[in-house]
Amino acid sequence: MNADALSTKLKSPNAKSAGMLNIYLPRPDWFFGVDATLELFAGIIAILIALVSYKLYRVTHERSYKYFLASFILLGGSFFSRAIADAFLGKFFHVSPHMIGLIFFCGYIGHIFLALAAYLLLIASTYKIEDKRLIVMMFLLLVPALALSGSYFLSFYVVSIILLIFLVWSYAQNCRKVRSVTSTCVFFAFGLLLLAQPQFILDMLSNSWYVTAHVTQAAGYLILLVALLRILLK
């Protein structure tokens, strides 16, 4: 969602304001609550994947599993914080105007930083980057890219696209090498997560992109759930 990018556009009935901070929510009315539910769904699947990887990390003690586990915990936390923010800024709860700014920063900015840290750790585990200093450096490089940006969300989605391209590339190579249904599921799931990002950017133009972005993202997590179930049934 491009809340800060469109902070001056407050003609919409969905706009809320908190002092100096004006927040525009580009959701169609009927989608209030559905977005938070889909984000909650994505968060639960991320935590389920984290639980399975924790079980396997305990068996192997491999660093790549540790990074993978940490990345899905962060991803889960990222979706939970966004779901809470969307629910509070939607119709579920009525909050005082001065609380909106706090919810915005804790929910959405939390979502952004947790998600980017998660993608970075996922890259570290997928590309077998062992050196912690490199991972910290990559994360620190992202901070000015976001903090100095005119729009947190636009920068976030652009950076997410770049990181997800590398992940999808790696999963495509892995899928070609392994040739299993589960690895194909993982490749398609991350492909859909990548496709969802430009749609989130396009929601500046039309509310319907916000809906399709959420649906694409949820489909990606649904496929990840299928992959996880296939693993657990082994």
Binding site: V52, S53, K55, L56, R58, V59, T60, H61, E62, S64, Y65, F68, S125, T126, S170, Y171, Q173, N174, K177, V178, S180, T182, S183, C185, V186, A227, R230, I231, L232, K234
Partner: protein, 88 residues
């Protein structure tokens, strides 16, 4: 097809399990189909991860499977599928 790291670990631990949980180094070398140098590297890793222990039994050096090692064997199929699916 080339064996992955977890395949090799599985083969080594399975060889120990098939021998009743205790194996001498020569048998392990033969069963795991590795060079002496590579087997030593894997043995160090397995000992480090507490999947096996090295003990002296009647003037002979033997390797024993631990509960951690048994846990690996039990979860091997899931572990392999997960590792392959996410390219870990």
């Amino acid at each position: 097809m080339k064996r992955t790291k977890i395949d090799i670990i599985y083969d080594m631990l399975k060889a120990i399990q098939d021998k009743g949980g205790t194996i001498i180094p020569t048998h392990l070398l033969y069963k795991s189909n590795l060079s002496h140098q590579r087997m030593k590297l894997y043995l160090d890793e397995l000992k480090g991860k507490k999947m096996i222990v090295e003990v002296q039994e009647k003037d002979k050096l033997v390797y024993k499977l631990t509960d951690e090692g048994l846990g690996f064997l039990k979860n091997f199929k899931q572990l392999k599928e997960f590792t392959e699916a996410f390219g870990l």
